[in-house]
């Protein structure tokens, strides 16, 4: 982390960048938040640790409009989002100085809490330099431990790899943390009966409070004005009821990013209700891979995405019923 801070200060000092986009410590040991650093003294609360899951690429849309370059810290998976945004002309590559930061898997505080660890005062082992296998957690009830791996975000178990897609320089080592099948959960749902599927999503989606956190955090959901806020579809500002409304919102949300979603997992990470929203996006990714060939959004600068492309011999929509 220190190396990162030093380099950031250096680039600020020599005028290469006008500001630094990173994370600063939050009011709790596990909730650092995205922040700009413009002066040397700001760096006092700069952090980069296992809890810095937030994908900063979307902030670059606004940062691209600012005067001067912005130094942005991007983890390997964040660079896919950044590249996808570049492809869509939403960020200005010339306005960004990208430091590809190392990543050894990011942590999910909900998982730690789910282990019954409460009253957390401090956590060690989450520092990026440590190759700690174990987290040591100080709580008001004494010291507890848990395996780093068990506290990782779901998305890190299906990590896309430790390579940065786009960067000016890299700092820190990365580790590939993939130890699960990305589509396992999707397949589990696919195998259910229609009634079970319906019950599953009914239960999950009825929790939705339409806070729009998933939409606001998503780097692909970057419309200036969302259709759900637009009077052009008469779909604006619908109240929450236990009915189709939420399904429609989440289907369309996922549909609009289909072929553009890099599977960064931010939607699920930020959902205050813990809805596994990535299951929608991943279903589309799985279908796209199976029907139109494997595709990873943000891995290249090819303008056409699976939904803005076609082949004569594409499957007919009837395939959905055929494969049952």
């Amino acid at each position: 982390m220190q190396e990162l801070i030093n380099r950031a200060k250096e680039l600020l000092a020599d005028g290469t960048v006008a500001r630094v986009l990173g994370w600063k410590a939050g009011d709790l040991p596990y909730n650092p938040e995205p922040a700009y650093f413009e002066k040397e003294e700001d760096f006092a609360d700069f952090v980069y640790n296992g809890f810095c899951g937030a994908n900063l690429s979307k902030y670059m849309i606004e940062a691209s409009k600012l005067e001067g370059k912005t130094l942005v810290c991007l983890k390997p998976c964040d660079t896919y989002s950044f590249q996808e945004l570049m492809k869509e002309h939403r960020v200005d590559r010339d306005k960004a100085y990208i430091i590809g930061v190392g990543c050894k898997g990011k942590l999910d505080i909900e998982k730690i809490k789910a282990m019954g660890i409460k009253g957390i005062q401090g956590i060690s082992g989450a520092e990026i330099e440590d190759a700690a296998e174990t987290l040591t957690i100080q709580t008001i009830y004494g010291e507890k431990t848990c395996a780093y791996k068990d506290a990782m975000l779901e998305r890190c178990h299906v990590c896309k790899g430790k390579d940065h897609m786009v960067f000016d320089e890299t700092i820190g080592e990365s580790k590939e943390t993939k130890d699960a099948d990305r589509f396992e959960e999707v397949e589990k749902i696919e195998a259910m009966s229609p009634e079970e599927k319906f019950a599953f999503f009914q239960k999950e989606l009825s929790k939705c409070i339409r806070c729009n956190a998933c939409r606001n955090v998503c780097p692909a959901c970057s419309c200036r004005k969302c259709v759900f806020d637009s009077n052009k579809f008469d779909s604006a500002q619908k109240a929450n009821v236990d009915s189709f409304e939420e399904k429609m919102f989440h289907i369309i949300r996922a549909f609009h990013v289909a072929g553009r979603c890099t599977d960064c997992g931010e939607c699920s990470r930020v959902c205050p209700q813990g809805i596994p929203l990535h299951l929608f996006n991943r279903k589309f990714i799985k279908d796209i891979d199976e029907l139109y060939g494997e595709y990873q959004a943000g891995a290249d600068m090819e303008p056409r995405t699976p939904l803005t492309d076609y082949r004569f011999e594409d499957a007919e929509p009837g395939i959905v019923a055929e494969r049952g």
């Binding site: 409009k65 492809k87 869509e88 002309h89 939403r90 959901c221 970057s222 419309c223 200036r224 004005k225 969302c226 259709v227 637009s230 052009k232 579809f233 008469d234 609009h256 990013v257 303008p303 056409r304 995405t305 939904l307 803005t308 492309d309």
Partner: protein, 662 residues
Amino acid sequence: MQRIGVFVCHCGTNIAATVDVKKVTEMALHEPGVVHAEDYQYMCSEAGQELIHKAIKEKHLTGLVVCSCSPRMHETTFRNAAEKAGLNPYMVEIANIREHCSWIHKDIEEATEKAVILMRAAIAKVNLDAPLKPGESKVTKRALVIGGGIAGIQTALDIAEAGYPVDIVEKTPSIGGRMSQLDKTFPTLDCSSCILTPKMGEVNAHPNVNIYTYSEVESVAGFVGDFTVEIRKKARSVDMDKCTGCGVCQEKCPSKKTPSEFNRGLDTRSAIYTPFAQAVPNVPVIDRDACIKFKTGKCGVCSKVCQAGAIDYDQVDEIITEKYGAIVVATGFDMIKLDKYDEYAYSQSKDVITSLELERIMNAAGPTGGHLERLSDGKAPKEMVFIQCVGSRCADERGKSYCSKVCCMYTAKHAMLIRDKYPDVNVTVFYIDVRTPGKNFDEFYRRAVEEYGVNYIKGQVGKVIPQPDGKLLVQGADLLDNKQILKEADMVVLAAAIEPNPDVRKIATMLTASIDTNNFLTEAHAKLRPVESPTAGIFLSGVCQGPKDIPETVSQAGAAAVKAIGLLAKDKLLTNPCTAHSDELMCNGCSQCANVCPYGAISYEDKEVNDHGVREVRRLAVVNDALCQGCGACTVTCPSGAMDLQGFSNRQILAEVDAICR
């Protein structure tokens, strides 16, 4: 709020017999925005349009709903009527209560209920309609004719005569098409080449006509009035300017084993060849698959004997790009393959032939020098059997569902010619029905029976069995005498079904012209617009649209020419105003819409916008109205919904959905 007038048409009894038009009219008045509703016998009549005019004026209507036939039928009529009364024509919507309602439902209550719902959807749409103004686009005053048969030749001549330049693209080395392969023509028995050759010469010499033979259409872009076409001029290996057409090269060419396409494979031709003596242009091509020089590198005889020095082995395909205002398709037909009709022994015996092969045999320039003989042993036949409807009128996948239309007449012609020239030959025709509608057609057929003694038997043939002695045993049925017939024949002639040229599908795709299940091009209206494709600027000439004989083909060719001339005579065309439009404040400038636009109509520019007080320069999508054809692909790709289609806006379609599901 709109002031909408609803007009319900009875269409005589077409609508009124199944839809309670009074009820529909009454229900209209309960809908939001509707200030006037009335019904009338024929809305499309002068009197009906007068009612519309009057209501617009008196009730100050801002929108119209006409509940009538399909908008594909009378939308323009009612839009024009509205415009005459000072209303923007795009403030008119049609509820299709005839084709989509009264004609397909029998129960009055059910049909009325549906008509009301369709009307509601149209009212909901009009409520959100906005006045639109069409733009203008230019017309390139040049026509392209695809296919150089009699249809293409006639169309090209007619357009050229009207003073417009025309290009003909013909795939084979010569124009002339199928008609050049025929010996005589019905119903007057003129010699085919005697009437075709002068036309070929005329079109070749016409100053307004440019012919690309041995060429194919490679790609088509653009739209009515402004098509850009790439034509591939295949390497002929002979210099068109130098060649004198002396024919020595063909005589000396050592490779002479290639089946002649012109003679339907009944004899062979040289590797360097003109398809037939009267070919236009009279310049041979080298068939590179057959040429020894191209296969082995050694030979070059033609080059040595050519005094004009016209042989050019290094010629390559050439792509010519040209702009056209109108395109006429005249791709013609071929006969179906008979490999699925094993029972007629076509592949087993050389003496079972198709009618087109018989044409070549009867022709003086054909493989037998015009002498009727069996191809197996050269003997003169004594008994000839003609089998009709081979592959026509079939319900299964072996043949075609349609009647090929020309077979009855050409079989009568063949029978008559044979009986005339070889009176000792007995001719039997097995038919299912004899179909002879046409001027002097039935008289022609009756002459075959009455004057020439051709034996017509009603009943299909079940099987043709080649005998060891070379004869053909024909097993048929006589349905009128109710007996089975076993007949020994020397030759059997099959009236094989005709089918559109196999290349037509590729061409239709390039032109985005629609095609039916049988690969015939679809006309814009089966009765009223038979020579136009639904795709604007594309016209149909000849058999590519449906089976027809020469007189019909020539009349249709002329009709297609007139339609093309009518288009070329205009200086400007009004463009469809239902184009896509991007909302500046919502556009992300993400480029996704440009990815799906088939016309390249979307570009991006940096533009300063004022978004509720925030002034900034944004990358925004801009639609070129002249290029946009209004498909709407971009509108769905746009995630924010910034891109919308005028006349079919998101809110309008949603309003229709809501009205239907209400």
